[in-house]
Symmetry: C2
Subunit: 327 residues, 2 copies
């Protein structure tokens, strides 16, 4: 493989001139032309590893994410990669599958490779493991208070869900949580729902399912209750995944949606940029989350000595689908 | 930031001993203990950029993919990252959005960074742009014949779709293609469908929709035809995305699925590892595609001077959902 010296020799100029040319500095037009020809002839490719080593700056940003195989995470990954790319950073994708040991090994790798920064979405205590002063921005959860956090306004989302249900002739309100999400930030959805119900004298119940186990029995009990009871139910599900499971199970059992029971999820899953699920949901503004997180990280990477720890909250909105009645 | 010399000084050993220790070679127990303490005290993090530069080997693999925001690509990205990680490689995620200029810039970046290899899924002529002798494996499409290809057995998938429909009392068969996928490999689905129909004397028609534009008018014409005609229709859609659009539009227009029209998609979208769409589909074995592609690339990266250009075909299977009748 040819190097900068070979190019200089071929173009009959000094190595410094080649370096200036490659770094966009001014060189004589004749030299520029000769260097250009030499690069093409030698099929010279610049070695950026060497360059980064010299400047101590890397173009890599590590993105630690529990999954990319789920509409929320794949949309988030899409936008994070796009905004990083816009700023000239390359994304090293690290899927943790919620495995703390994997998360730790990714952080170690990031430190060893001297990457420019880390973006993470982790439901464990990942940030407590980061020792170095590497810039890091968390999405959705951050427990230590040592790093910036970008998250949806989950509390407001819970209130909006309760309000939307209350405008649709509901007799009985139920919040169905997710047994596999324990973060303070995500539980704010539940708190918002409860506070709205209490403030408006609405009777509600709290239940929980484990979306990984599908929790057939709990769902069956719920179906029996709704079937044997003339009342109209309104459910706010902690995530779209739970809302989807409930919708399918209810329909399989012959319950009519939205006549017998109305369901609002949380996330607003879009399967592709043009295809979304038809369940009603509190939609997270995932593009805005990604953009805000990347911009915050960029600020911290540009000026690591003056990091400000921020808590950035992104608004959410109700998206009507076919699991709620028209108002 | 401390370096290897600082560790050696702190541990009172030679730099060579520290290097041996870090590379897993044998050192005296006392030295090992002292180095370990020194590393902890100095908060020393190994600089792998320097190491890779020296050995001319990088742990990075660039993955060029049109999107991660779509169930097929997000599942594929999930498995590719997992199998790369198992072999100790880090994935640099490069989303091209089918933009040829972006694809080119990612390849340039890969060559400049001296990454270990490239995995790509591209519907443009990406591989024709790769100049260096960097190991590259394509998924789903490869036109130049210069690089290995891993793809589903699309032709067999088309035959299976026609056969499954023919076992379900269909009067009229339609293939609905995708105006935005022009690769030879994906069009094999259509060829398999046509060949099966011709070989078994089944009457069929060919239509095309552009899933990005939603093609409302073409779909409306189809709905009118099916509604005004007592016949039972069987549709094989080029992708699940098209199958999903058709299913929603048909249902909105009051057509009954599977009574009036049966639909089989292609991909077998799973929204998450545990949630799949309920449309009937020819399911691609995405884990096997990813595994095979990563293993092939690994072989080529380990021994770049003896690369064998392979064409690897992964079997597909029918997955019954609720858009076809039970047999």
């Amino acid at each position: 493989m040819s190097n900068m010296k070979d190019v200089a020799r071929e173009a009959n100029v000094s190595v410094a001139t080649v370096s200036n040319f490659l770094n966009g500095k001014k060189v004589r037009p004749k030299a520029a032309k000769d260097i250009d020809l030499a690069i093409k002839k030698l099929n010279y490719v610049r070695n950026n590893t060497a360059r980064f080593l010299k400047t101590q700056r890397s173009a890599f940003v590590v993105f630690v994410v529990p999954s990319v195989w789920s509409p929320f995470f794949s949309e988030l990954t899409f936008w994070v990669q796009k905004y990083l790319d816009n700023l000239g950073y390359k994304m090293v994708l690290c899927v943790s599958e919620n495995d703390y040991q994997k998360e730790k090994s990714y952080v170690t790798m990031a430190e060893e490779q001297r990457v420019a920064g880390i973006l993470s979405i982790s439901y464990s205590d990942l940030t407590s493991h980061v020792h170095s002063d590497i810039p890091l921005v968390s999405i959705e959860k951050e427990s230590t208070g040592q790093f910036s956090l970008v998250s949806s306004d989950n509390y407001e989302g819970g209130k909006i869900a309760a309000k939307e249900l209350s405008e649709r002739n509901i007799d009985k309100y139920i919040f169905i949580g997710s047994a596999n999400h324990s973060s303070v930030e995500m539980n704010a959805r539940k708190a918002g729902f409860i506070d709205y119900c209490n403030n408006h004298g609405l009777k509600f119940e709290i239940a929980e399912v484990d979306s990984r186990k599908n929790d057939k029995k709990k769902i069956k009990n719920l179906i029996d209750e709704i079937s044997n009871n003339g009342k109209k139910y309104g459910i706010f599900a902690h995530t779209d995944e739970i809302a989807l499971i409930l919708t399918q199970e209810f329909q399989d059992a012959g319950l009519k949606i939205p006549e017998h029971v109305q369901i609002i999820g949380f996330d607003g899953w879009k399967l592709t940029p043009d295809t979304h699920l038809t369940i009603s949901s509190i939609r997270q503004n995932i593009e805005e989350i990604a953009k805000t997180a990347v911009e915050q990280l960029h600020k911290e990477m540009e000026d690591p000595d003056h990091r400000e720890i921020s808590r950035l909250m992104i608004p959410v909105a109700f998206r009507a689908g076919d699991t709620t009645e028209n108002k």
